[in-house]
């Protein structure tokens, strides 16, 4: 009996669980899934519907020198009018065009009459259908409405708000938005989210709505309906009566679903804009997903334009105004990522096939701002291509590099792999071996011809005339310190002997190291290039020498308790320009060893030299001079978009990207020269920098940064040019070496044991 009850209970339970699952979980399965996938889905939808007919985007010319576009309107007579700030002539202008931007005409304004208005602070302006421009100007404690009539004459009204005492006085006169409704009345909203209707003849304001308790981000007028966007909510009210209208759940849902829509509004645009038709019977709105048409009371919004097929989908663009010309034509003003204004026209073409744009998938294991900038630069050049950046390791989740590689491989094998791969941390050698990477030597050749390229790097990646991967940036290891130490830095063995010599001489504090791992990593960057034999095997002697030297160095330096270093916080630890650098000057160490990843760091190194006489040199094994590549790029051999992929590679390796990153020197010579140029002129009497450190013992160290001299810049360039072989970038080998090496350094096993363990594991790996 018991058993029967049990069964029932269990099944009941399971039903319950299933219900929760049904309600919660399975709903999740349909909507979009993560940043990058959203776009692809939309593309898929578009492809699915197949048919013909699409709104096509054309960019209309705008007048030059627009700093800020206040309002755009389509006048009754069909001209497009703009109210803007021209930052070349430093004046406000009304510009009009009757021929879709082919020619723009500046309206003559009675400037004398307008002086007072233009002298105030203008945050918003609106253009009515007859061409009257209403400008809200705040001048001290006065709020003026300037009306510039179509003939250029100017009228002034002083506005007084009826309910000043009921609101925060400081903000009341800050008018954040204005618009004309279908009947030609001017509506304004202040920072307290009070909406007023302005009598144009007298300047009297009538409070229409007080939405202070909702934080209204911005509003738009669609016919006679005012749509105010609050957080996760759209408030609709009538522009004539001020009466609140029924909530539009569809709009609310849309706003709630995408929090970015109700977020920040800046001078440079809004995430969502509106237009209306038939007195607001139909509301059109634009967000990054596209242009939608919504009938109030309706249960869905219809998507008219798919954002991802136009510039609407570019999330760096923000919108200013949507103007409906007719059902088949829309005008949209927007601001691009660099603050440039755009006037876009959308016209329905019933014959245009709804073809999705090309999507270029770029994969990187780790995110980098460098890559993001390259992408945005590329995207700007190639608007018809949609670059989908896929990041393997987003950071905070428990995803390991392996999981990411596994997912990537699955994609590659499933035929939906990326077109361009950033190979840092990926098993690049294996990919090449499997023929998964295409030969990119023509691209490299082209760049070498155009901008020049570090030949040593090119040669390092040239395998029988073909290049399968190529770094966009690279860096080297440096040693700096006392003369003797710098001398010793040229080889691990010498360095180890130097350390032992110092130790027997009774000196301590020679080599700054945070931990065994830190030391191993520093040495790895400089030494590992020499390990791999040409047949792909690991040289045991090389590993042994590396490890025994590391051990010798580690033993010679009484490492401070590792906890001490944790207090420095999350600073990059194996680069040379960090706090460790000050040690030599402070006499807390004899040398500093580490990678130099940017000119900024070189400035530090140079300043040390010029002010403290601390010289520097390439840190290396004598036989092989090595560099560390980063942002290694390759093109998938499976890609169908090799043209776009190559163009992307060009952008990645291009001359423009020199200043984008602070990690690594650009391989592109032109970009490198730019970096050098910048470093040579970075500091002047007005802009200065420096380091000041005081130790617990009370020693004080201070250094101001100096611009490196041309000779020194030549020296570092020479060092960079001399590096001939990339460090061993194989993640697995590096992990194995560091893991076992740490044990050896800490004395858990002997160096010999560690080396044999490393060799065993690595040969397993290499044998697979």
């Amino acid at each position: 009996m018991n058993g029967k009850n049990m069964t029932r209970l269990i099944s009941l339970l399971l039903c319950l669980v299933l219900m929760t699952a049904g309600l919660g979980g399975c709903k999740k399965t349909s909507p979009s899934t993560g940043e990058t996938n959203g776009a692809t889905e939309l593309l898929a939808e578009e492809g699915g519907t197949g048919g013909k007919g699409r709104f096509l985007e054309t960019e209309l010319p705008l007048p030059e020198n627009i700093r800020r576009l206040y309002d755009t309107a389509l006048l009754e007579n069909g001209t497009i009018a703009l109210f803007l700030w021209n930052d070349k002539e430093n004046i406000y202008q009304i510009q009009e065009t009757a021929d879709e931007g082919e020619s723009w005409k500046v309206r003559d304004i009675d400037l004398e009459a307008a002086t007072e208005i233009f002298a105030g602070y203008i945050d918003t302006a609106a253009i009515s259908a007859d061409g009257t421009v209403g400008i809200l100007s705040k001048n001290d404690d006065r709020l003026l409405l300037g009306l510039i009539l179509p003939d250029g004459s100017v009228e002034k009204r002083e506005l007084t708000l009826p309910d000043m005492e009921n609101q925060e006085q400081d903000y009341a006169l800050n008018i954040t938005g204005s618009a004309f409704d279908a009947e030609g009345s001017l509506l304004i909203e202040n920072l307290n989210s009070h909406f007023y209707k302005v009598d144009l003849t007298t300047g009297n304001c009538e409070l229409l709505q007080d939405l202070e308790e909702k934080y209204i981000r911005h509003f738009g007028v669609a016919g006679n309906k005012v749509l105010a966007v609050a957080e996760g909510e759209a408030v609709l009210f009538d522009s004539t009566t001020g009466e609140l209208l029924e909530e539009e759940t569809v709009l609310n849902d849309m706003l709630a679903a995408d929090s970015s829509l109700s977020e920040t509004v800046s001078d440079s645009g809004k995430p969502l804009v509106f237009a209306g038709e038939n007195g607001g019977e139909v509301i059109f709105y634009v967000n990054h997903q596209g242009l939608f048409c919504h009938t109030p009371g309706g249960s869905v919004s219809e998507q008219l334009i798919n954002g991802s097929l136009t510039s609407m989908g570019d999330t760096t663009v923000s919108f200013l105004d949507l103007v409906m010309v007719d059902e088949e034509h829309f005008l949209l003003t927007a601001v691009g990522s660099q603050g440039e204004a755009k006037l876009l026209k959308y016209s329905y073409d019933k014959d245009a096939p709804s073809v999705p744009e090309t999507e270029l998938k770029v994969y990187a294991l780790e995110d980098s701002s460098f890559l993001r900038q390259v992408i945005s630069a590329y995207q700007k050049e190639h608007q018809d291509v949609y670059v989908n950046l896929q990041i393997g390791l987003s950071g905070d989740d428990g995803m390991t590099a392996e999981d990411a590689v596994r997912a990537l491989n699955t994609d590659i094998l499933a035929g939906s792999g990326p077109d361009v791969l950033i190979l840092d941390g990926l098993p690049a050698e294996k990919y090449i071996e499997k023929g998964m990477l295409a030969d990119i030597s023509p691209v490299i050749e082209e760049i070498a011809g155009k901008d020049g390229i570090f030949e040593n790097v090119r040669q390092a990646y040239d395998s029988d005339g073909a290049i399968y991967q190529f770094p966009a940036r690279f860096y080297v290891s440096l040693v700096n310190g006392e003369e003797e130490a710098v001398e010793a830095g040229s080889s691990l063995k010498k360095l180890a002997d130097f350390m032992t010599g110092k130790k027997t001489a009774g000196e301590s504090k020679i080599f700054p190291m945070r931990s065994a791992e830190n030391l191993l990593e520093k040495l790895y960057a400089a030494d590992s290039a020499a390990w791999m034999e040409s047949d792909g095997k690991l040289t045991e002697e090389a590993v042994k020498e590396y490890l025994s030297c590391a051990k010798q160095i580690y033993d010679a330096e009484p490492t401070e308790s590792e906890d001490v270093y944790y207090s420095y916080g999350g600073m990059a630890s194996d680069t040379i320009g960090t706090l460790d650098a000050t040690g030599v000057a402070l006499k807390t160490s004899k040398l500093n060893y580490g990678t130099i990843v940017s000119m900024t760091e070189f400035t530090t190194v140079y300043s040390m030299k010029s002010q403290y006489g601390i010289d520097y040199e390439l840190a290396d094994r004598e036989t092989v001079k090595s560099f560390v590549p980063c942002q290694l790029a390759g093109i998938s051999s499976q890609t169908e978009k090799s043209g776009e992929a190559e163009e992307f590679l060009q952008a990645l390796l291009g001359a423009e990207c020199g200043a984008y990153s602070f990690s690594g020197f650009p391989v592109n010579r032109t970009a490198y020269e730019e970096v050098v140029e910048d470093a040579a002129n970075r500091y002047d009497e007005y802009s200065q920098g420096g380091i000041a450190v005081s130790t617990d013992e009370g020693d004080f160290f201070e250094m101001t940064f100096e611009n490196p001299t041309p000779e020194e810049l030549d020296k570092i360039t020479g060092i960079l040019e001399s590096a001939e072989k990339p460090a061993c970038m194989d993640r697995v080998i590096k992990e194995i070496v560091l893991e076992q090496g740490e044990k050896a350094l800490k004395g858990d096993m002997t160096v010999e044991e560690a080396v044999s363990e490393i060799m065993k594991k690595c040969s397993l790996y290499l044998a697979e």
Binding site: L9, D87, Y215, S369, Q373, D396, T604, F662
Partner: protein, 445 residues
């Protein structure tokens, strides 16, 4: 047993559900709340402020009549005086005496003048007569000349006529030879007459000129005698002095400031006589206010001549000052001179006030609040809040973006374009210490 554990399982689920809600609620309190905003295009405002002190204004002298004995000096150097303030007092008796002397002098001069006037009238009569005579001579000479000329012309005419008539037929009946001779005679006569006329003309001209000269000489006045006029001037001057003395006497010998201002120099001393140079020097309020302030070299970069300056003194703001000079001083600093056409009374010399120069840069595309910019060693960066998808859906995390500052002031920094884009939400404020990769919640604005 079975049931027990089954129940336990159900209760466990319930507990989990409860804590699901609780932890979500708790979570929202614990995550760092940050304010974000995208960058804006901005002019970077540099506010240079300093404490300035008022300088000397334009100086002018206060004169008084010379030679007066100063009995009392009432003001000291640096004192501010209103118009009408007594600056010093002279000895009234000495004043009266000086006055008397002056009157006597004037009388003497007047008498001198009367005598001189009579002599001059007689000389004028004589001259008039002489002039008349010369005039007559001149007219006569002229008449004579005209007569002589007329006569000469007539004779010449006759000779000419004779030639004409001879040529027309007078030669009939004469031999060629005779005719030739006659003709030659006639021409001879003609030329003689013409010569005679010319001679007469010349002599008569001379005579007339001589007469005209005589007339001219006669009409000239005789030697000029200005002494009377000089005396008159001297009298006027003295009378004026007298008037001043009288006025001074009326006022009881008090030297007063005509306008308000600061006394900058006292040049008279009690018991000594005034000189003809100034008795006092003063700066008037008419010249406006003039301040100077020392600012750092850094600040000096942003200030230019002509910039408007706001001056604030004990709660009052003055807007109509402007920078009229910038001078490098030793030690790398700079000295500003600021003037206004008014307000001198508010800024007597040495008075100090706070000045502010607000200067706007060109418009930078990428400006962020300075609070958003962090500096660590020689790298400068901002945190950008970015959405990432996590287990709990999309959440914001901070990302470090290295930037380069082009210009900054105490509240905004302009960054190099291109590193940030308009979609980036820049963290401007956080309630806890942030690190790259921290999860954050956007603060409700």
């Amino acid at each position: 047993m079975n049931k027990f554990w089954a129940k336990a399982f159900v209760i466990l689920l319930a507990v989990m559900l409860f804590f699901t809600v609780v932890s979500r609620a708790a979570d929202s309190f614990l995550v760092a709340q940050v304010s974000v905003e995208p960058f804006t295009a901005k002019k970077i405002e540099h506010i240079v402020s300093a404490v300035a002190s008022a300088e000397k204004g334009l100086e002018f002298p206060v004169m008084t009549e010379a030679g007066l004995l100063v009995r009392t000096v009432y003001v000291q150097e640096g004192e501010f005086v209103e118009a009408g303030t007594v600056l010093a007092e002279v000895d009234p008796e000495q004043l009266a005496e000086t006055e008397r002397d002056l009157r006597d002098e004037i009388r003497a001069l007047q008498l001198q003048n009367e005598a001189a006037e009579q002599n001059q009238a007689a000389a004028r009569e004589e001259k008039e007569k002489q002039k008349k005579r010369t005039q007559e001579d001149y007219e006569r000479a002229q008449k004579k000349q005209e007569e002589a000329l007329r006569r000469g012309e007539e004779e010449l005419q006759q000779a000419e006529d004779a030639i004409d008539s001879f040529s027309a037929g007078g030669a009939e009946g004469m031999t060629q030879e005779e005719a030739e001779t006659k003709k030659a005679e006639l021409w001879q006569a003609y030329f003689e007459k013409k010569q005679a006329l010319e001679d007469t003309e010349e002599t008569m001209e001379e005579a007339v000129t001589a007469a005209a000269r005589a007339l001219e000489d006669a009409s000239e006045t005789g030697t000029a005698d200005n002494s009377a006029e000089i005396n008159a001037l001297s009298i006027a001057q003295k009378e004026e002095s007298l008037k001043a003395y009288e006025k001074l006497e009326e006022e009881g010998g008090k030297i007063m400031a005509e306008t308000a201002g600061t006394v900058t120099g006292v040049l008279v001393q009690t018991g000594q006589k005034t000189t003809d140079t100034a008795a006092f020097t003063m700066t008037s309020t008419e010249g406006g206010a003039r301040l100077s302030a020392e600012i750092s070299k850094e600040d000096a970069r942003y200030v230019e001549v002509g910039d408007a300056v706001t001056v604030e003194k004990s709660g009052t703001k003055y807007e109509d000052f402007s920078v009229t000079g910038i001078k490098q001083t030793e030690g790398g600093a700079a000295e500003l001179t600021i003037t206004s056409e008014e307000h001198a009374e508010s800024f007597p010399m040495g008075e100090s006030a706070e000045i502010t120069v607000t200067k706007q840069s060109e418009v930078y595309n990428t400006a962020v609040p300075l609070a958003a910019v962090h500096t660590e060693q020689n790298s400068t960066y901002v945190y950008v809040a970015e959405q990432k998808s996590t287990v709990l859906g999309k959440q914001y995390f901070t990302r470090k973006v290295e930037v380069k500052i082009l210009e900054k002031n105490s509240s905004y920094a302009a960054l190099e374009d291109g590193v940030l884009n308009s979609e980036n939400l820049i963290v401007t404020d956080s309630d806890t210490y942030l690190q790259a990769g921290d999860r954050v919640r956007l603060r409700q604005q």
